[in-house]
Point group: C2
Chain length 470, copies 2
């Protein structure tokens, strides 16, 4: 925990530098939280632990608490500078950043200082790959138990170590992440200012979606920018293990990967359906394809950039986008949602169940990537699905205390829980989350954290069972 706080203090130096470069008077807004974080961090890391072991429970609790703590400290620059004066709003925006949701309470981002905008986008980049994974990658030594931290923070039903050491795995992942981000920054810089290029690349890399334009990526009105962003959104929504396979020259494994095939398949089918549905609106296939491919990529990867107000699209396209919010990106990517691999496993269990009801005596197992899925993984999937539904029901119920329309309430929960960002109606691409009450904003913040951390680290914090002595 101490290491995490020191790490955040170090990261705050980056927007501080930006603010100095642009001669903005937000120097203290970054320095104060830095000093606080470093102070607490120093104090905590000096304390000798009586028991160093991290098991499943400690891993989950550590991850849950860490994310809340870094969000609280991360919101201080916004509060101190007065650019987001309200505490709940600042917390919401920071959680939205770290969880790579990209839901905003800001009516007008274009009036903010560069330093703040940089910090806001940087939270996406840090949160995308994982705050604790970052710490693991930097730590000089980690013990074998730290796999529990990686497991608790990494998206997807199964976490494999790429190499025998957790720290090596974390470093390889971050290496790939940094390389891809730099490539995107360079490609975008051909067309838009370097600052814009950096912050939009951060938001793409983390599949976050914060933009520095009120009209999001649509504000550049450039096909080149849209194509680059679309391609990189899809790349960051891919399982990073596949990039590792390419690095070590095992390209065959990429095309044999079942999740990758489904991921590509779902994107293609969704783009085709939405394009056809939109032809009568945009008049021709080219325009229609341009908007549909960007939006489909943005939603399935749970980035949440927009080039158009899809709230005005026909119902069919909207339903497809809402469905994609649930699906989400690949496991082991920076994207949110249920993850394509889970969807595959759910569909396969359904077919297994149909076969079972016809021939109860035949034994069949669910296979994934040509291997039988262990029963403990299947059980975890079920627990996840039930918890997933429970959070949506409770979330929508709390939100509906305010009397907004049902589509707003429902898609606000869906879009934050799956870390997408924009929903429909009031929270659509041209709207924002400012209208909600404090209760709703706190609820949505918890829902974003639950979504990013795949529910259990957050659920466990609220469970009295966790805090009982063994």
């Amino acid at each position: 925990m101490g290491s995490i706080m020191k790490m955040e203090a170090a990261l705050l130096a980056l927007p501080l530098v930006v603010s100095i470069l642009y001669r903005e008077n937000t120097f203290l807004s970054f320095l104060i939280p830095m000093v606080l974080l470093f102070g607490f961090g120093f104090f905590l890391t000096r304390k000798k632990l009586t028991n160093q072991a991290i098991y499943a429970k400690e891993g989950l609790v550590l991850v849950g608490i860490s994310w809340i703590v870094i969000s609280l400290f991360g919101s201080l620059p916004f509060i101190i500078s007065g650019e987001i004066p309200h505490v709940v709003d600042a917390f919401f925006e920071t959680v939205s950043g770290f969880t790579t949701t990209g839901a905003s309470i800001l009516m007008n981002v274009e009036t903010m200082t560069k330093g703040m905008l940089f910090w806001r986008s940087l939270t996406h980049w840090i949160g995308g790959m994982g705050v604790l994974v970052f710490v693991l990658a930097l730590m000089p030594q980690t013990n074998g138990r730290s796999i529990y931290v990686l497991k608790a923070e990494s998206p997807g039903p199964q976490v494999g170590k790429l190499t025998s050491k957790v720290r090596h795995t974390a470093r390889i992942l971050y290496g790939i992440y940094i390389a891809l981000t730099i490539t995107q920054i360079i490609l975008l810089a051909f067309k838009i200012p370097l600052f814009d290029s950096i912050v939009h690349s951060f938001a793409t890399a983390g599949t976050g979606g914060f933009s520095i334009l009120n009209q999001s990526v649509g504000g550049y009105n450039s096909v080149y920018v849209e194509v680059v962003v679309t391609v990189f959104m899809l790349l960051f929504g891919t399982n990073f293990t596949l990039f590792y396979f390419i690095l070590i020259g095992d390209i065959k494994k990429v095309f044999k990967n079942e999740e990758f095939k489904w991921y590509v398949g779902i994107v293609v089918v969704a783009v085709v359906l939405v394009t056809i549905n939109l032809i009568h609106i945009y008049g021709n296939i080219a325009e229609s394809l341009r908007y549909s491919s960007f939006q489909v990529a943005s939603i399935i990867t749970t980035t949440g950039f927009a080039t158009v107000d899809f709230n005005t699209w026909p119902s069919f396209s909207k339903i497809i986008l809402v469905s994609l919010m649930f699906v989400g990106a690949s496991a082991g990517s920076t994207g949110g949602g249920m993850k394509v691999s889970r969807i595959i496993l759910y569909v396969k269990s359904l077919f297994k169940e149909i076969r079972y009801s016809i021939r109860p005596r035949e034994i069949s197992t669910v296979k994934f990537n040509h291997k039988a899925v262990e029963p403990v993984i299947m059980e975890g999937l079920i627990g996840y699905l039930i918890a997933y539904i429970a959070i949506i029901v409770v979330g929508v119920l709390i939100l509906s205390i305010e009397d907004h329309d049902l589509v707003t309430n429902f898609t606000a929960i869906i879009a934050t829980f799956n870390n997408v960002g924009p929903g429909l109606n009031i929270v659509g691409p041209v709207g924002n989350y400012a209208v909600f009450s404090n209760l709703s904003k706190i609820t949505l913040s918890i829902v974003m954290l639950a979504g990013r951390l795949e529910i259990f680290p957050i659920l466990i914090l609220f469970s009295p069972f966790t805090w009982k002595k063994n």
Copy 2:
């Protein structure tokens, strides 16, 4: 199958008699389908079967096909009389009747003849307890395998035989069903005409919801009628096994029954929440309680009667009603939805999963009514949940090809799939399903059948795997 067709022919005699009593010229509209059904039925029952055994697969397929066949023949009176001239509309209305959904495509029911109204409500009564269970109860002899038919048609995750013989179980269930229906008819007849009393009792007993007034039960504007209907909706939404326990004097078992306690608890909590939410609309607690208790009972039991247009209620109350549509009534009742017992088991598995993630080495099992739930039942629950979600997604997607609003599309699927009837917006309590295209109406009909038969009998009809030779 032959027996089922002969049974439907016999049942059509009832509306025929009604039409004669009221001197209506719909004589042939009932006689022609009767002759057809009896003819086919006679032909089929004469055929000697080479293999009499009914296993799981045969049970499911028989139930699926039977329901489609009786709905097709059951729609003939509406078509022949011209009172519902369009084939798809008549099929929709009949499926809605047999599945006890109560969704209607009729703009004005009050202009229909008594005979047709009687038949429409009778389909609720027959469908409520189960068409095949009815045949089983009447058949002179059944073999041990007929439990598969009972299992395939009866709602809920577990089907227990009350006595050692399936036929006896079916007869006891129908005995209780008839006794309760007659009691309600008598109680209602104190206040409204006998005909009205009979058809509304049919609709209550089956938890269907067809009314013969355009304003549904609200049209009587009588607190007495509303209270009687509310009480009986809740009774018909109770597991019939509990009535059997009362009959044999084992009342303790009723109050020990876990599903019953939750069922009562959910109703009470929902009524209290909705009542509080409505006070500012109706001005006082009494009015607010009157409308909320009727509507909560109507929705959780999936009856679908209305005394007020809850579409105009605040979001919070609407979300509670929509949530109750998913919950549904008790297993082993005539109601639809997921069933309270499934919800209990899902919630319990969630807690089990939370405990597991904290202490992976502790072994825990899910208990229901103080007994450990078998793994095969738990697996079935998961299959059901995934299939349930899949049908909603596909259904909403097909419906959204027509460009109605999202709330209409979503609640139309939810309200038909859970056999409730009214949804929100266009398909709200004062609206109806006439606006939809033929494709949507057929989709909704299949969804109603899938909901009533708990998905698998219908899913299996569409699975190529079923039709392969062993």
